[in-house]
């Protein structure tokens, strides 16, 4: 009787697991990261569970920092010295972008699918540039070859200084420069792995926060890819903030700038006076 019941439950349960819609949940081990005076980077751990994980499934975790507006300039040699020229402005570029995957990203999904879902550094940057001036990147392939070379940036607000004409391949150079600069200070990171699949559909992702981690609101997005397509996703939020004495001085400097300036001057004068007392007394 009991065994038959168990068998019935087991039989009932078996097909249910297989047909269940795939899903994913995730949580960060901490919701805030504090930057104190001894901050030298941190390691962030994200735990998650999947429902209906199969052998064809892979997991991608993206951590995206607060957006900031950038001006990218190209150095040009003028009268023998290198001068910043040809500025191009980008809005809302993530100040931090890290990606952790259960397999190398290019084996999880093809470039077209990554571009469509905006996953990956390259796809993210191109989506950003396309949002600013769609003609730079998107329409180029549909235009005749001669006009595709030189394009007028159309959808750019008036307050952005842009050169009159931008070559499409030049925009790619600017995007590559943003990516290089982020990789240099480790605020952009594409780990080839970083997601560890544990037993029972559980997984764990570790993401490194570098010493130059920007403060602000972060979003962690977790994707479940099946056969190269995202089939489920979840997001969790994270806040990176200054704490302790760092926070005190930062807020002091930004909220009460005049008083802070006065404070800096008085502290320096006091330090100089004390130095005089200590060393110049004869």
């Amino acid at each position: 009787m009991l065994t038959s019941l168990l068998v019935a439950i087991a039989l009932q349960g078996q097909p249910q697991i297989a047909t269940e819609a795939p899903g994913i949940v995730a949580a960060l081990t901490q919701e805030t990261v504090e930057i104190r005076e001894d901050f030298d980077g941190a390691e962030l751990v994200l735990y998650g569970a999947t429902r209906g994980l199969t052998i064809r499934d892979e997991i991608v975790v993206v951590l995206r920092g607060p957006g900031r507006d950038l001006r990218v300039m190209q150095k040009r040699r003028t009268f023998g010295i290198w001068i910043n020229a040809a500025p191009l402005e980008f809005d809302d570029v993530p100040s931090y972008y890290a990606i952790a995957t259960s397999l190398p990203l290019d084996t999880i999904a093809g470039p077209d699918e990554l571009a469509r879902s905006g996953v990956g550094l390259q796809a993210m940057l191109e989506a950003n540039a396309a949002a600013m001036a769609p003609s730079w990147l998107l329409s180029a392939s549909t235009l005749p070859a001669e006009t595709a070379d030189v394009l007028q940036p159309a959808a750019v607000a008036d307050d952005h200084d842009v050169p009159a004409l931008i070559r499409r391949d030049e925009v790619a150079d600017y995007l590559a420069a943003i990516a290089r600069s982020g990789r240099r200070d480790n605020t952009f990171a594409e780990a080839q792995r970083g997601v560890e699949i544990l037993d029972g559909g559980l997984f764990r992702a570790t993401i490194a926060l570098p010493p130059l981690t920007p403060v602000g609101n972060y979003v962690a997005e977790v994707y479940l890819f099946r056969d190269g397509r995202p089939i489920a996703s979840r997001s969790a939020s994270l806040r990176v903030e200054k704490a302790g004495i760092e926070r005190f001085f930062f807020e002091f400097a930004h909220d009460l700038p005049a008083l802070y300036g006065l404070f800096c001057v008085l502290m320096a004068m006091l330090a100089g006076y004390l130095a005089n007392l200590a060393f110049n007394r004869r």
Binding site: E37, W82, I178, E246, V265, M269, A271
Partner: protein, 311 residues
């Protein structure tokens, strides 16, 4: 041991900062200069954003000139009247310089202007100082050849300027315009280059205003103290680029280094000391000039673009 700087927003080794203060303080104590022309480029080199390096440099000079001005105050080797005139000019220069700084930063050209100013001023001052000190070393080596001391030239056009005023401490009766102009010029340099400008003001006071050498250094320190204090205040209020933690760490190293430097300096002949300083100034000039000319490792620069200020 790393320390995170709240305004510069970078993590730096605390001993590196103390050592930097100690080293620059040693040289500034030895040569009797502010050392800003060394400190600001070194801070930029270790990764402090140029805007923060320049403003924090000014804050640190407040501390070092404060400790330097006291002995002159006690010995009365300080022309307060002249100092106040230089200060009026300097304040106007500082205000203009802070505006210019913000404008250039908005255009993405502040690094270039800082570098060009350094190359230009350090090249000229270092070159002149080198020529002068090598001449005095040679003169000291064969004294019979150096018999003809040049007669003191008249002030020329400066003595013909209007608005004359008496300066009892310096024993001068000259127009107020040259001190105002010198102050204005040096005040602008404080804001743009993060230097005290002593290396320009001291020669200008000796050779242009013909002030007695005994009061020049004290008066220069007096003016520097207040102009850098004003610059610190303005940069903090307008650009939020003064890092108090960085300034204090540099100051701790700086005041101690300056004491040892001053002691070491007493064992070296004055003209040799000047030649060494000139070599140091020229070395910084060449390094910055080289960086402008050599092909950079990355041909693109990423500049943050903030609300209104371009920071």
């Amino acid at each position: 041991m790393q320390i995170y700087l709240p305004i510069a927003e970078i993590s730096v080794n605390i001993f590196l900062l103390l050592g930097l203060g100690l080293g620059v303080g040693f040289l500034s104590g030895m040569f009797g200069v502010g050392g800003g022309f060394l400190m600001t480029p070194l801070l930029i080199f270790i990764g402090v954003p140029p805007a923060v390096a320049v403003s924090t440099g000014a804050n640190q000079i407040v501390a070092s000139s404060m400790s330097g001005v006291f002995p002159h105050w006690r010995r009365k080797t300080l022309d307060i009247k002249m100092g106040l005139l230089l200060l009026i000019g300097g304040s106007a220069g500082s205000i203009a310089g802070v505006q210019l700084f913000a404008l250039l930063r908005g255009l993405g050209q502040i690094d270039l202007i800082i570098s060009l100013s350094y190359v230009g001023f350090l090249g000229v001052v270092g070159g002149l100082m080198m020529v002068e000190s090598v001449r005095s070393i040679l003169r000291a080596a064969n004294p019979e050849k150096a018999g003809s001391k040049r007669p003191l030239r008249r002030r020329g056009w400066i003595s013909r300027l209007p608005f004359k005023m008496r300066f009892p401490t310096s024993g001068l009766y000259i127009s107020v315009l040259p001190p105002l102009a010198i102050g204005l010029f040096v005040g602008t340099l404080v804001a743009i280059m993060g230097v005290a400008g002593g290396f320009i003001m001291v020669p200008a006071m000796i050779y242009m205003l013909r002030m007695p050498t005994s009061v020049v250094v004290g008066t220069s320190l007096f003016q520097i103290l207040f102009v850098t204090a004003l610059t610190t205040f303005l940069q903090a209020a307008q650009n939020q680029t003064v890092d108090i933690l960085l300034a204090l760490l540099l100051t701790v190293g700086g005041v101690i280094g300056a004491q040892f430097g001053a002691r070491a300096g007493r064992n070296v002949k004055a003209e040799e000391l000047r030649a060494l300083l000139a070599a140091l100034v020229l070395a910084v000039c060449l390094k910055m000039g080289w960086d402008l000319v050599v092909t950079p490792s990355d041909l693109f620069v990423i500049l943050p673009r903030g609300a209104g200020e371009g920071f």
